[in-house]
């Protein structure tokens, strides 16, 4: 009997969420239970990947399929390829870290601590489902459903402008969702016309969609994903959300949920609408490069650390989208790896700044100075997190960034030359923030900053260890990612670029 690994992994946290909501309101219990469940989910997910997933095979694995709404052609269908598996693992790794980091964040919200951790677990379960869904209808329902927990997490447990931020996030997301809905409905019509309704990805991928319909349906999906990612010019909900949310919520939002946008671009835009993807790619490449530079420049101008990190993400998502739409092996694999690495790096940044902010009740860079002297461990971990964000070689984001850039260069030299400027801008936004908070003479308040406690070190250590490890051994993930990217590019129908002057075997013994 095959084990339904993905269902177990997704349902465990969902059941945990329900249980937490029903438990008596004893604050001490909620974080422990949530942590235990999320670690269990991680163990199950990793066990499934190790036992039943073959990294060399292409196509979906760990598959489960049950008929759901026959008249619609909707299936409860799960499965992952290397891309989906990478993101499922990212979700499973980050959730326990976030729960441990948010240990006391549930105490001061609108609702009880139970509610906070219940929503967290619900979010984890839904995110796993989204990344594993191989049925468009199931994907859409889960995609919209993830809005609910994140809405309550921001609106119920955030800071000053939380209501504004939560509603803005929700409305803008719903706008994207409605466009996607239109496309989902359109797909029904298309598949119905082609011999019977189906929402299964594998069936849809075989249907020949006519050019105009394909392009329109593509746009519906793409815009929804661009809002989610977020890309310029539909990004401004993110800084507001990050500013208002707790650090843990920001991590779940930016490191996990936003990845649904870029994941969706690969899975649905490229996978279902190859022709339209190639048609749109010049425009998307331009928007991506604009995102890279625009996000970075705005990050430089921020005084609020949380907004700053949000803008760096706009820049990083620009790189990810760029790598996806240049349609080269290095671009695609780089982007997928980028999603994972950005998840780690941004999580570390949000959490370490969160620890700093929590100490002094201010998120403004201008309120700090000289913290390093009093809190060297905090400063050290902040620096490593920052260096990963600026893609220092030796840390994992470098590998993905250079892959995206190499992949881009082979498609468009101009795009690569502009995008690479993001490297210099990244050094600016990170090092300016680091200098102004950590270096210089210690401000009166900063002089007494307590250094990181044991729990906080436990939160950051796994992230930083992974960042260093994958900086030197990225092939651990790339071996899983490569076949899926190759399969996707085959589906799009592009051939790999070849070197102008290939090195022949006899030249290099």
């Amino acid at each position: 009997m095959t084990v339904p690994w993905l269902t177990i992994t997704a349902v465990l946290p969902l059941l945990g969420a329900v249980a937490l909501a029903l438990l008596p309101r004893r604050a001490a219990l909620a974080p422990k239970a949530a942590l235990g469940l999320s670690v269990l989910a991680l163990v199950v997910g990793v066990a499934g990947a190790l036992t039943d997933y073959d990294p060399d095979a292409s196509g979906f694995q760990l598959e489960e399929q049950h008929e759901w709404i026959p008249s619609l052609g909707a299936w409860y269908s799960l499965g992952v390829d290397g891309i989906g598996l990478t993101l499922v693992l990212l979700t499973l790794v980050l959730t326990p870290v976030v729960i441990l980091a948010s240990w006391h964040d549930g105490d001061t919200g609108r609702w009880s601590s139970n509610a906070f951790f219940a929503w967290m677990l619900a979010l984890e379960g839904l995110a796993v489902g989204v990344f594993a869904a191989t049925d468009v209808f199931l994907f859409y329902v889960l995609f919209e459903a993830t809005l609910i927990p994140i809405y309550f997490l921001i609106g119920g447990f955030g800071g000053v402008r939380r209501s504004y931020a939560a509603v803005k996030f929700l409305l803008v997301s719903l706008f994207g969702g409605l466009l996607m809905l239109a496309s989902v409905v359109g797909l029904y019509t298309v598949s119905n016309g082609a011999g019977g309704p189906t929402y299964l990805l594998e069936d849809l991928a075989r249907i020949d969609i006519d050019q105009t319909t394909g392009r329109l349906l593509f746009l519906g999906f793409f815009i929804a994903f661009a809002v989610k990612a977020p890309m310029f010019p539909v990004h401004t909900w993110l800084p507001d959300a990050a500013q208002a949310a707790t650090p843990g919520t920001s991590v779940m939002l930016v490191s996990v949920l936003d990845k649904i946008g870029t994941f969706g671009m690969i899975r649905f835009c490229l996978g279902l609408f190859p022709e339209a993807s190639q048609w749109a790619s010049p425009v998307v490449i331009v928007l991506a490069v604009v995102s890279v530079l625009y996000g970075a420049i705005l990050a430089i101008g921020q005084d609020d650390m949380r907004r700053l990190i949000a803008y760096t993400s706009v820049s990083h998502f620009g790189f990810i989208v760029l790598g996806i739409f240049v349609l080269t092996p290095q671009g695609g694999a780089g982007s997928t790896l980028y999603m994972f690495n950005h998840g780690l790096s941004t999580a570390a940044l949000f959490l370490v700044t969160g620890m700093l902010i929590q100490r002094h009740r201010s998120a403004l860079i201008s309120d700090y100075g000289g913290v390093q002297k009093a809190a060297p461990v905090l400063a050290g971990m902040f620096l490593v997190a920052g260096l990963s964000s600026l893609s220092l070689p030796g840390l994992s984001p470098f590998v993905s960034e250079i892959l995206v850039l190499v992949g881009t260069f082979r498609e468009s030299v101009v795009a690569a030359v502009f995008a690479v400027l993001g490297m210099v801008l990244a050094a600016l936004y990170i090092l300016i923030m680091y200098q102004r908070t950590m270096n210089g003479p210690a401000r009166a308040s900063a002089a007494t900053t307590p250094d990181l406690g044991l729990r906080e070190r436990l939160v950051l250590s796994p992230l930083l260890v992974l960042i260093v490890l994958l900086g030197f051994f990225p092939q651990l993930l790339l071996d899983v990612i490569n076949p899926a990217v190759e399969a996707t590019l085959d589906q799009v129908g592009v051939s790999d670029p070849t070197p102008d002057v290939p090195v022949t075997a006899e030249e290099v013994p």
Partner: protein
């Protein structure tokens, strides 16, 4: 003279690129990974170990590079015992990344070029570690200092031992990080923190060249390894070669503080003096020269890029020398001198096979004498309560005899006084420059004269003349742990010239750079040497009559000076230019985009939200009391829409 004018444009067509074809490392040479691993271990233990490693951290930190040096010496003995064509070995460690047709391995390449660097980095590096035991004795964070020095040594070794441009990039930015950390070691000072950040960012501008070069290599050859690129280079177009050459030059300019990316080096003197000696004189700043020499197989196919390298070198050697003349801060005077000397190396490297070996030769001798002089400056600062103003020194000769004597050896070496090491190495570069074209030769010759002038000035202001010590300063000789490295470096500065005896270094490097090309001179080499020595003596004489000869030195630099002096004091307006061209427009752009994002783009996004909400005030109204009801209604609405749409399709 007519035949010289023809050679102003280098004729690279006759050159052949030397491909990199290493054999597998075996026997003792398979221990080469230890050279990198030891300091890496040191950095990890000292930086992660925390306070509990404080009592023995500095000793552990010294042991690691010394261990690497011993392994390096053993490897050197092995290579010496082999035939020239078997001196290139490679040790593959693991596959770094493999995507599509591009595969990059973690592998170490030990050949005559990287071997010399290993010895320089570990040898001079160990001496500077030992010196730091004394120099940093009173610093509460000495253990962290040694951890970061070990980190630097690791990264620098990766830089020179990597066999792939991607691996070079790892070391390249790694040394940049170490440099950032060590310039900002006393980051509680704003000036140190700002200098550190500036160094990193200016270097990142140079690194754009490195990243783009890697991209271009992969696009053109499907690989970024030395072996692959050097093998396929002959089939590439000259345009590709030129692009690669210029991109690598951009990277080299950043790391080696060459014009136009020179501005960070003077500020970098904010770091502790051993750092200035190791990173900002002897090793890291010479990485650009390494990169150009290593990429000889690229430059062989692009006369244009070679000319660019030569011009950058020539301009920088003059700019650095001029800046060196105007600084009262002893470290900044030496830093200007470093720029200038690296300019000489660049000039030589740009000449091609006729100059590669001399670039590396000068790089080594400079490593000895400049590290020695920086450590000497540190010894002086140690004795004067960290005063760096040479106007506050004077007559330190008697108070610090060892420091004086070793500094004097360095002085004689850098100005190129026979038979000190710098005499041989600089002489060969100027000669090669004349062989390349009279304009280069003349520039290099003038540079030698200016060098003699400003170094004489440093010497006179610091060690000779009258005492100008501040109140409460009682100069004393430094402890043995500091003077011993000074003595070793002085000896090396004295005898370093032996490397050229019988053409040893040119022969040694031949497997990497190709055979030395003969060049035509307008006079015999001996006469040219005479001319150079005369120019140097002229510089010394001018220095003597300006700052020696019983003249009194004012406490403050004179204010009413010519434009040239003001320009030199302001680093020839390098910072002013950066501010006017990049910084201020950049700040304005940031401000403008902040406005656009807030008022226009956000307005657009709120418009989308309003569209969904069916009211223009949706997002704004969110701040009022009935937010939740409203938002939930929205979500409910969306779900109803889903259901409704489904219902329609079903029928």
């Amino acid at each position: 003279m007519s035949q010289l004018a023809v050679r102003v444009i280098p004729l690279a067509s006759g050159e052949v690129g030397v491909p990199v074809v290493p054999a597998e490392a075996d026997g003792l040479l398979s221990l080469v990974w230890l050279v990198v691993a030891l300091p890496a271990l040191g950095a990890a233990v000292l930086l992660l170990g925390g306070r509990r490693t404080d009592p023995w951290g500095h000793l552990f930190g010294c042991a690691m590079p010394i261990g690497s040096f011993v392994v390096g010496l053993a490897a050197f003995a092995q290579l010496l015992g082999r035939d020239a064509e078997e001196r290139q070995v490679r040790q593959a460690l693991w596959t770094w990344l493999e995507v599509g047709d591009w595969q990059a391995e973690f592998a170490l390449l030990l050949d005559p070029l990287s071997m010399l660097f290993v010895l320089l980095i570990c040898g001079v590096g160990s001496l500077i570690h030992v010196y730091s035991v004394g120099y940093m004795a009173h610093d509460a964070n000495r253990r962290r200092f040694f951890g970061q020095l070990n980190l630097f040594v690791t990264a620098m070794l990766v830089l020179v031992l990597a066999d792939d441009y991607l691996g070079v990039f790892l070391g390249w930015e790694g040394v940049g990080l170490a440099s950032y950390l060590l310039i900002g070691f006393w980051a509680h000072k704003d000036s140190a923190a700002t200098a550190a950040k500036k160094a990193f960012i200016v270097n990142r501008v140079g690194d754009l060249g490195m990243s783009l070069a890697v991209m271009l290599m992969v696009a053109t050859f499907g690989t970024s390894s030395f072996a692959g690129v050097s093998a396929a280079m002959p089939d590439a177009s000259e345009g590709t070669a030129t692009a690669l050459g210029l991109l690598l030059l951009l990277a080299a300019c950043g790391k080696s503080a060459q014009v136009p990316l020179q501005s960070w080096l003077l500020d970098a003197m904010e770091g502790p003096t051993p750092v200035s000696a190791l990173i900002h004189a002897a090793t890291m700043v010479t990485a650009g020269v390494y990169l150009v020499v290593r990429s000889s197989f690229v430059y062989a196919f692009t006369p244009t890029a070679e000319t660019a390298v030569v011009v950058v070198g020539l301009v920088t050697l003059l700019v650095g020398a001029i800046i060196g003349c105007a600084k009262d801060d002893i470290k900044k005077a030496l830093a200007g001198s470093t720029m200038s000397q690296i300019g000489y190396m660049m000039l030589a490297a740009g000449i091609g096979p006729a100059g590669y070996a001399f670039a590396i030769f000068h790089l080594l001798t400079h490593g000895f004498f400049k590290a020695g002089m920086f450590l000497g400056a540190g010894s002086v600062m140690h004795a004067t309560d960290d005063d760096v103003d040479m106007r506050h020194y004077g007559a330190l000769r008697t108070a610090m005899p060892v420091t004086f004597a070793t500094f004097a050896v360095g002085y004689l070496a850098i100005i190129g006084f026979p038979p000190f090491s710098g005499f041989f190495s600089k002489d060969r570069i100027i000669e090669a420059a004349f062989g390349e074209g009279w304009i280069y030769g003349t520039g290099a010759l003038i540079g030698a004269g200016i060098t003699a002038f400003y170094m004489t000035r440093v010497m006179l202001l610091t060690f000779l003349g009258s005492k100008r010590w501040r109140d409460g300063v009682h100069p004393h000789e430094s402890p043995r742990v500091m003077t011993t490295p000074l003595i070793v470096l002085a000896v090396l500065s004295l005898v370093g010239g032996v490397l050229i005896l019988g053409g040893w270094i040119t022969g040694w490097l031949e497997p990497v750079t190709g055979p030395e090309e003969p060049h035509d001179l307008f006079v015999s080499p001996l006469v040219l040497t005479g001319i150079i020595t005369l120019v140097v003596l002229g510089g010394v004489a001018i220095g003597w009559f300006t700052y020696g000869a019983g003249r009194t030195i004012a406490d403050y630099p004179p204010a009413n000076v010519r434009f040239a002096t003001r320009a030199a004091r302001a680093d020839l307006f390098g910072d002013a230019l950066n501010e006017a061209v990049f910084m201020r427009p950049g700040q304005q752009l940031t401000k403008a985009l902040l406005f656009v994002d807030d008022k226009i783009v956000d307005g657009f996004v709120n418009g989308l939200a309003a569209l969904v909400g069916g009211s223009s005030g949706a997002a704004r109204r969110a701040q009022t009391g009935f937010v939740r009801t409203y938002a939930l209604t929205m979500l409910g609405g969306a779900l109803i829409t889903v259901v409704a749409t489904l219902a329609v399709t079903l029928t």
